[in-house]
């Protein structure tokens, strides 16, 4: 298990390093002068020079890269160009708000998909199975940001039941978290269904039935446990989509998380803030994936040994 944990840890660090490099290169691959772009068309030559000096854009790329890595390790990612505050503080302040949204969405998705997928797998081809497949197809096809707007239109503007913007109360959490959860519900329900169907085909399930276990015992003690492993793997991978969806959903509901911060930063060409936001979201994602890897290493001894 220790080797397994260490290997996963090294991979996570590797991914973070890759993400850092991508962000570094993307900002500097701008056609033209990054400092000019950040300052906008109204800046004077002196202002642009000052910014170039401040960000170290005059130095060779390799030196910039090394300095950037050292700064990142020290969590010193510079100051926001517009807000004149350390970007790390700005992002850290918003991170719990995004975490709350993402976590609620994951809980909703799991709470809905497992019963739905299981119910569909018990009688494949039945009425419920048909309904579930339509629902999961819709969940995967309808773009989250539009669904969020429709929710606002229906539940906030027409019925006046729920608030449409902000994060002051629990009621504010309902619409955004459902919006973020729905695509995951689509994927997860299909997965639970197909995973369960595969497992129910296995010999050990037939054996369990043959020795007279009740259907309930077969389901809970044999089928569901073994279905979990592939499902959890995909949940981990889907977290990336979920966080991406959360970024866009946040702007729809004016949810004050890292997503709105990132989109504002991109629109304002506030690249230090962009770097920090992306780094933190990726770190969050990598951490969740690391935990997922550990959990299925714990669930399935075969994975540890590979």
């Amino acid at each position: 298990m220790t080797t397994y944990v260490v290997r996963r840890l090294i991979f996570s660090v590797f991914v973070l390093w890759g993400a850092l490099t991508v962000v570094f290169l993307a900002v500097r691959a701008v056609p033209g002068d990054p400092a000019q772009m950040m300052m906008g068309p109204n800046a004077t030559a002196a202002e642009i020079d000052a910014l170039r000096e401040k960000l170290g854009l005059n130095r060779p790329l390799v030196v910039q890269y090394a300095a950037y890595m050292v700064q990142t390790i020290r969590l010193d990612l510079g100051e926001s160009l517009r807000l004149a505050q350390p970007v790390v503080a700005l992002v850290a302040e918003r991170l719990p708000t995004t975490g709350k949204l993402a976590l609620t969405a994951i809980l909703i998705a799991v709470a809905v998909s497992f019963p739905l997928g299981m119910a569909a797998a018990i009688r494949p081809g039945g009425l419920l199975d048909g309904v579930v497949s339509v629902v999961s197809l819709l969940g995967q096809s309808v773009p989250g940001f539009w669904l969020g707007i429709m929710f606002i239109l229906i539940f906030a503007r027409s019925l006046r039941l729920l608030p449409s913007a902000g994060d002051e109360s629990l009621a504010h959490l309902i619409l955004p978290s459902i919006t973020v959860a729905l695509p995951l519900v689509g994927v997860l329900t299909r997965l639970v269904r197909s995973g369960l169907l595969d497992v129910l085909d296995e010999d050990y399930v037939r054996t369990a039935r043959a020795k007279g276990l009740t259907p309930r015992a077969v389901m809970w003690r044999h089928a569901i446990r073994n279905m979990l492993i592939p499902v959890i793997t995909v949940v981990g991978l889907q977290i990336g989509h979920l966080l991406g969806g959360a970024v866009i959903t946040e702007t729809v509901f004016a949810w004050p998380g890292v997503g709105t911060l990132l989109v504002d930063a991109i629109t304002n060409r506030d690249y230090p803030l962009v770097q920090a936001s992306i780094l933190f979201i990726t770190a969050l994602f990598v951490t969740i994936n690391f935990l997922v890897d550990l959990s299925y290493g714990a669930l399935d001894p075969r994975i540890r040994l590979q």
């Binding site: 991979f11 590797f14 991914v15 890759g18 993400a19 991508v22 962000v23 993307a26 900002v27 691959a29 701008v30 056609p31 494949p124 081809g125 197809l137 819709l138 995967q140 096809s141 309808v142 773009p143 940001f145 539009w146 707007i149 429709m150 606002i152 239109l153 503007r157 299909r190 997965l191 197909s194 169907l197 595969d198 991978l237 990336g240 989509h241 966080l243 991406g244 969806g245 970024v247 866009i248 702007t251 729809v252 990132l262 989109v263 991109i266 629109t267 060409r269 962009v274 992306i278 979201i281 990726t282 994602f285 990598v286 994936n289």
Partner: protein, 362 residues
């Protein structure tokens, strides 16, 4: 073909196999010169067929009925399109109809209902769907805040979605096919580097990368296509590599190698064609994802430029008028959802056709 060392063998009276193709059983009535029917199985070897002797047919002493597993026979070409397959093809066609409709709308729509991004008709602003305008025309989907027809915007948006969806999948698919096939075929450091890049990219929320790159490049249709191709090539590369790895070990590839085929011939004639099937399945799924990604970017103002009425941009535009004009955000979103739904259904059907094992499962 019958090979036998037995002098008792005279000839075959009759042969029949069930079913007529595939694997099945073969029944032969064999004429023997002697009476020693018990040794029939030893005396006769029917090619690679294993034969078990049956009791001699009564009254016809020289003839022995033999039954065994028949060699696998390919279904004759004329019989290939059985009723079931024809039904499946028809279903695929019917499943593709909404997509064909979308294609038609995207190509012909803007010609029939031209979109005019410049003209402002303040007298016609925020008209609800179905309202007859002053010039006598009907705004089927209503108008926006400066009086532009929403139907024309949605039709023009269909064109952008289609353009971005197809170009991105073509570009990302080509890059993915080449990198995946080369990585899988040559292995070594090329494979290691490509796959580590892919790992890192997959461990990174793709829409974030798209937001970053699109934000840096600035809004334009070409930039959206480039951005999304950059975030999507990985899936294609992985599938192409997997297909290459399994094809590389197939017998016909070894045979071609033994016959002296060079790398170019191997790749072009054997490896690449085998990767196309799985890639087609991935491509149909990816078209839908790319269309959603384009709409998301345009919604954030990072996709198509503001004079291009992409669906995402129109949805964003309508957000300011949710209280007075619900249709501006609703209509393009409906179109978007329907198209992605149609693409998704079609993708499922293509996958079921090409990979029957997945049928009724995922």
């Amino acid at each position: 073909m019958i090979r036998t060392a037995s002098p008792a063998f005279v000839g075959i009276n009759s042969a029949s196999r069930t079913p007529e193709w595939g694997s099945g059983s073969l029944t032969l009535a064999v004429k023997m010169s002697g009476d020693d029917h018990g040794d029939a199985a030893n005396a006769l070897r029917l090619g690679w067929v294993v034969v078990t002797p049956q009791a001699p047919t009564e009254g016809t002493a020289p003839v022995v009925a033999l039954q065994g597993a028949a060699p696998v026979v390919a279904r004759p070409a004329s019989e290939r399109a059985t009723a079931r397959q024809r039904r499946r093809l028809l279903r695929l066609f019917v499943g593709g109809l909404p997509l064909l409709f979308f294609l038609l709308v995207a190509v012909v729509g803007p010609i029939v209902v031209p979109y005019d991004p410049v003209t402002v008709r303040t007298g016609e602003r925020l008209k609800p769907p179905g309202e007859v305008l002053r010039d006598g025309s009907m705004a089927l989907l209503g108008t926006d805040q400066v009086g532009r027809d929403l139907l024309a915007q949605v039709l023009q948006g269909a064109r952008i979605s289609l353009l971005v969806g197809l170009s991105t999948v073509a570009l990302a698919g080509t890059v993915g096919l080449l990198s995946g096939v080369l990585a899988g075929y040559y292995g070594g450091w090329l494979d290691a580097v490509t796959m580590r890049i892919a790992d890192v990219q997959l461990a990174f929320p793709s829409i974030l990368l798209a937001i970053l790159i699109a934000g840096v490049l600035g809004p334009s249709v070409t930039n959206v296509i480039l951005t999304l191709s950059l975030t999507r090539w990985v899936t294609f590369a992985r599938v192409a590599r997997a297909a290459t790895l399994s094809t590389r070990e197939r017998e016909f590839v070894h045979a071609a190698r033994a016959l002296g085929a060079g790398d170019a011939r191997m790749l072009g004639l054997h490896i690449v064609p085998s990767a196309i099937g799985p890639l087609v399945v991935v491509a149909t799924v990816e078209v839908g994802l790319v269309i959603i990604a384009e709409a998301s970017l345009s919604f954030l103002g990072l996709g198509t430029p503001s004079d291009q009425p992409s669906w995402g941009a129109t949805i964003a535009n309508g957000r300011a008028y949710l209280n007075t004009a619900w249709w501006i955000s609703t209509m393009p979103g409906l179109a978007l959802s329907l198209v992605v739904l149609a693409v998704g259904r079609f993708g499922d059907q293509v996958r079921d056709m090409l990979d029957p094992r997945a049928l009724s499962r995922v």
